[in-house]
Amino acid sequence: MEPVRTTEIMAVAGARELRDGETVVVGLGLPQVASVLAKRTHAPNLTTLLEIGVVNSNPIDTPAGLADSRIFHGATCWSGFLDILGMNLHRGVVDVGFLGALELDRYGNINTTLLKEESGQVRYFNGSAGGNDVASLARRVMVIMRHEKRKLPLAVSHLTSPGFPGGKSRAENHLRGNGPHRVITDMAVLGFDPQTREAMVVSIHPGIRAQDVIDNTGFPLRLPAEIPETAPPSEEELRLLREEIDPRRVYLR
């Protein structure tokens, strides 16, 4: 059998964070794959929402993005931002929000707006869109991103979406959701210390050394004495991912 890919480990790690019956705001790519995997395994009653106004869609073709009709396919409800971001997310019934990040700092603050080059020149990206809303309001936030030193700095160059700004509690920051819960990278799964609210290692993926993780993280990373290995995908999970969910390897590259 083909060796397990990192993207498969990430998708499975994401899926296992989702509980049956929960409501999830998903983005494109791995979050979508993780949600579908969860639905097909331990969470058949999971509800997936897309911020533009889509409930429980079931794409059969690969979408080019959130605006691609392919991602609306098979939905049980089409509404709009007001319904999904307002009457679900702001309403407080969204359990999990998946986000990506240009940068994520030790307090789980996310930057999706801009990067500063050495020259001082600023380069802009997509901005918040629904990102700040999800980070401010979802009960648990999960970030999926690549593990690189420059992408995991001590402090983000622009705080687009709050985690625990200033290391303060969500309440002190007047934020409703419980903030960042897991950061799933291609090297490890990170969590946050309930006291200091700093990122810490929850588990490291098979074949990755602790030193690799430390060397590729831009902030001091707390590691437990005994570092657990990220549980590898089961045969059934691999079969679903490879044969049913993303057979053409669009996201599980």
Binding site: D61, A67, D68, S69, F72, H73, F81, G86, G130
Partner: protein
């Protein structure tokens, strides 16, 4: 009832320089490209644009130098890339960008649509998005307040009531009743918040269709000022149940958008160099190309 069917050039002539415009597009879907082209041909100036998620519509208008201010949640061309003209204009401070969030823009429209001068929101707090708004021209649109009942802290958003809303829909009648198939994103709130609603429809249908399915009427005729009938009017962006986005043309646009010269060339060739949208569609491959984009009746794309 009198027909509101109008020609795009005629309608765009009624939009003054400095107008605030709500755009109904989202990334690469249902962009009001036909109107964007005409706005560029008529060289409007100092426009304020608002939108939850900018797409090719806003990128073109900024690239053509028509825009003074943006009130937006974000921007993207999905897999085709970033809104390069917008980002370049930001980087060179050529546009006043009030960057909010998708829900903040949507709530500001909702306030406007309900005739409320403000609406509270729990997003934005403890973020640099809010700090930047407070530090710049965005300061006039946000205030930190607390709930008169619970004391909970909120950001009060000033209502958005754009001068004009431009919304591309699949079907409308001559009076302006509209159907939107697929997700509506912020279309209903932004249209009802605007002083004037201008609808661009792929198809003109009889009013009896709305009488048969009254629950599906998203924008009612009495709020609509003009209806522009323009099949493929959102090309190269997608219109669910009508046609798919045109990957080739989007890639071509993105290549041009990388540089100022490129955008100028694109605008010269495809927009200023076309007397009308029909000529533009011809340059994009005409009927043959458009037919290849037509949606599968079952899948809708």
């Amino acid at each position: 009832m009198a027909s509101k069917l109008k020609d795009v050039a005629e309608v765009v002539r009624t939009i003054p320089d400095g107008a605030s415009i709500a755009l109904g597009g989202f990334a690469i879907a249902r962009n009001v490209i036909a109107v964007v082209h005409e706005l560029i041909r008529q060289q409007k100036r100092d426009l304020t644009l608002s939108q939850c998620v900018m797409g090719m519509d806003t990128d073109l208008l900024v690239g053509a130098g028509l825009v003074r201010r943006l009130i937006v949640g974000g921007g993207s061309l999905d897999k085709f890339g970033l809104v390069q003209c917008v980002n370049r204009a930001r980087e060179n401070r050529e546009v006043e960008a009030l960057d909010m969030t998708s829900l903040a823009v949507c709530f500001a429209y909702l306030a406007g649509a309900l005739g409320l001068s403000f609406l509270p929101i729990k997003s934005l707090l403890a973020s640099e998005v809010l700090e930047r708004l407070e530090a710049g021209p965005g300061a006039e649109r946000v205030r930190r307040i607390s709930c008169p009942f619970t004391g909970e802290q909120y950001v009060a958003l000033k209502a958005l009531n754009p001068d004009v809303a431009l919304v591309h829909v699949q079907a409308a009648d001559e009076q302006g009743n509209c159907h939107i198939h697929g997700p509506k994103w912020e279309n209903e709130e932004q249209a009802k918040a605007a002083q004037r609603i201008i609808v661009i429809a792929e198809e003109i249908v009889p009013t009896d269709l709305f009488r048969q399915h009254p629950t599906r009427t998203v924008i009612p005729a009495h709020r609509v000022e003009a209806v522009i009938h323009q099949p493929f009017g959102a090309h190269p962006t997608a219109v669910y149940s009508c046609y798919d986005y045109d990957s080739e043309h989007l890639e071509l646009y993105v290549r041009h958008a990388r540089s100022r010269d490129g955008v100028r060339d694109y605008i010269e060739k495809y927009i200023r160099g076309s007397r009308n949208f029909a000529e533009y569609l011809e340059k994009c491959g005409g009927a043959a190309r458009l037919n290849s984009l037509k949606a599968d009746p079952v899948l809708g794309y």
